[in-house]
């Protein structure tokens, strides 16, 4: 899990640089600071389990096993991208690992996740669905309607709220009357837990419990993972311009870095510096290879502009 978190962090840092350099134009919502959530959750899932995300889903995609090169090429708008240059940062797909689409309409994929869980129940298979969304999404009607439906039909879906304390530029208490997202589970008829989202082991353990429950027809669960978005809502900037309060908050949150925390315990367990270096070097060379691939890849051909409005094949399984 440590390596996956670092891989996400370095991808996001590199993407931020490429945004600043003007090489990447698609709006990128960086996941830096929240890696513990995607990685802890995904480590508890099987390859065929469904994962649904939103606008800030680079981390979900990599954690679940989506191809790094294909995502980098997608950020460059290239034909070799995971969405063939039709999606950009906010529309990622990797059907081979259970990601059938992440999209930026806030809360838009929450009912879709419930639908995939219904499909799983109707087929009688063992797949569970995970819906990742932020604190802002809990303001949407989609979310409340979906929670009720999932509990009513006892569906194998896990609602993972990544409470990063910001809905775009608005602090949690500017967009919610109370800091009580975990209580919405009980209101909608399902258990819920509030977690330190920067503790990847805690997230992993809670997800294992929720997955076991869902696979055994125990119904849905809500996990509120409290974490913090280090960068701005969109782009590479640190977003300090939104106010002094945010600057103070960031000072408190930086030491809670989910990666640094795992590193401390790995050092205590005797992991050597050379091993950390090897992980870093491996990721660095993978990233530079991916950037080179993305740069060299062709753009989609203009003659293909009208393709794919309709799906020609059969529905994906």
């Amino acid at each position: 899990m440590y390596g996956t978190m670092v891989r996400i962090r370095r991808f996001e840092e590199r993407a931020g640089e490429l945004v600043e350099a003007g090489e990447i134009k698609t709006p990128c919502h960086l996941y830096i600071g929240q890696e513990g959530v995607a990685v802890g959750v995904s480590a508890a899932l099987a390859r065929e389990d469904y994962v649904w995300g939103g606008h800030r889903s680079h981390g979900h995609y990599l954690a679940k096993g989506g191809g790094l090169r294909a995502m980098m090429a997608e950020l460059f708008g290239k034909a070799t991208g995971c969405s063939m240059g039709r999606g950009g940062s906010m529309h990622l797909v990797a059907p081979e690992v259970g990601i059938f689409g992440t999209v930026p309409l806030v809360a838009g994929t929450i009912p879709l996740a419930v639908g995939s869980a219904l499909a799983s129940k109707l087929r009688g298979d063992q797949r569970v669905a995970v819906s990742f969304f932020g604190d802002g999404a809990t303001d949407e009607g989609h979310f409340h309607e979906s929670m009720n439906l999932a509990a009513l039909y006892q569906l194998p879906v896990i609602f993972v709220c990544e409470n990063n304390f910001y809905s775009s530029h608005m602090h949690l208490l500017e967009h919610r009357a109370e800091d009580n997202i975990h209580k919405l589970g009980e209101a909608h008829g399902m258990p819920a837990v509030r977690l330190d989202g920067n503790d990847v082991i805690a997230v992993y353990r809670a997800t294992v419990d929720a997955v076991n429950r869902a696979r055994n027809r125990g119904g849905p669960m809500l996990l509120e993972c409290r974490t913090y978005r280090w960068r701005g809502h969109v782009g590479s900037a640190w977003d300090l311009d939104v106010g002094v309060k945010r600057k103070d908050e960031l000072k408190d949150w930086l030491p809670k870095d989910p990666i640094a925390r795992v590193r401390v315990s790995l050092v205590e367990d005797g992991m050597q510096q050379e091993e950390f270096d090897r992980i870093e070097q491996g990721i660095r060379s993978e990233l530079e290879e991916a950037v080179a691939f993305a740069r060299e890849s062709p753009y989609p051909d203009e003659s293909e502009l009208l393709d794919h409005v309709f799906h020609s094949g059969k529905g994906c399984q």
Binding site: G87, V103, L105, P111, E145, H311
Partner: protein, 325 residues
């Protein structure tokens, strides 16, 4: 051949689809209610069980999203909205999600969902229980929109919609539920995007959708008594719509009336008029004319309702006006 009502034909299509494909299920409001969607789903949950026929809470938005998500995950859901008005609460899953999904991911993931809704008006129900907003959905790339007018098409288009593999809006009309017509017992598909020529004629082309096809047929009888020979084209699908058949007919008759039971501005009739003007202007011997609702919400009082909904006489008046141009 055996005859069925339009409502029975819809029910039979559902039953055969449920029986033949384990991926098919139905979800929406009122499916277990004693009214059974105007009998069009009469006791279907008793035959196939409440696991596959789910009467949903009043959560149009999430229910639509659930159907879309299940379709992406490989099922073949039929989502049901008992009125089009209610479906407007579910526009995000339909337009932002289902319609765009294939394109956004380079055609790698399809959304084989059928979104059935009903035009259910009259009886002094008023503005929020009467709307026919099919043109909204016709506007959106990635959606197909079908509107059967006969029992035969009601069955065949539903089967085609479920098997299409893309999001299809299936829009039926409560004012047609009692119509009776021949319907084969076996499963069959009516191709999406193909119009039907209901009557051949040489003086005027009348293109209609759904219930207005019935009114157009009545109008043609009245006009025939007065020596006017109308050609009637029932669009059946409004997206994609059969421009080839319409254009060929207009090139023959030189006159076009489009009858659609919805608002005038940016409606089906406007789109067809624009296409015909662009492709066959020199064949027109008279201006194109539209028979639609006025750009006004539906009233309640029967006195106003009577004037609000166009009928066969409105089409007759329109045609006669064109003939003196």
């Amino acid at each position: 051949m055996r005859s069925l009502s339009y409502a029975q034909a819809i029910r039979e299509a559902h039953a055969q689809l449920l029986a033949n494909d384990p991926r098919v299920f139905v979800i929406g409001q009122g499916l277990w209610s004693p009214w059974y969607a105007g009998t069009s789903l009469q006791e279907i949950e008793k035959e196939f069980g409440r696991n596959r026929v789910l009467d949903s809470p009043v959560s149009e938005n999430a229910t639509a999203g659930v159907a879309v998500g299940a379709a992406i995950a490989g099922m073949r859901p039929i989502l049901f909205h008992p009125r089009m008005d209610f479906m407007l609460l579910a526009v995000d899953p339909i337009v932002n999600q289902a319609a765009n999904w294939s394109y956004m991911f380079g055609g790698q993931v399809g959304v084989p969902v059928v979104i059935r809704s009903v035009i259910n008006r009259g009886g002094e129900q008023g503005a929020q229980h009467s709307q026919a907003v099919h043109a909204f959905f016709m506007h959106v790339p990635g959606l197909k929109v079908v509107m059967p007018s006969t029992p035969y098409d009601a069955k065949g288009l539903l089967i085609a919609a479920v098997n299409d593999g893309n999001p299809v809006m299936y829009i039926d009309d409560r004012w047609l539920y009692a119509e009776v017509g021949e319907v084969p017992e076996e499963m069959y598909s009516v191709p999406i995007g193909q119009a039907a020529i209901r009557r051949e004629g040489r003086d005027v082309t009348v293109v209609s959708t759904s219930y207005m096809t019935k009114q157009a047929s009545k109008a043609a009888e009245i006009l025939a008594e007065r020596g006017v020979d109308s050609e009637l084209i029932d669009l059946r699908s409004i997206k994609p719509w059969d421009a080839e058949v319409v254009l060929a007919s207009v090139r023959k008759t030189g006159r076009l009336v489009v009858a659609d039971g919805a608002w005038r501005t940016c409606g089906v009739a406007a789109e067809i008029a624009a296409t015909v003007a662009g492709e066959a202007l020199h064949h027109l011997r008279a201006p194109i004319s539209r028979v639609t609702l006025p750009d006004t919400p539906a009233p309640t009082s029967r006195a106003l309702e009577h004037t609000y909904y166009p009928d066969a006489q409105a089409i007759v008046t329109c045609v006669e006006k064109l003939l003196v141009e």
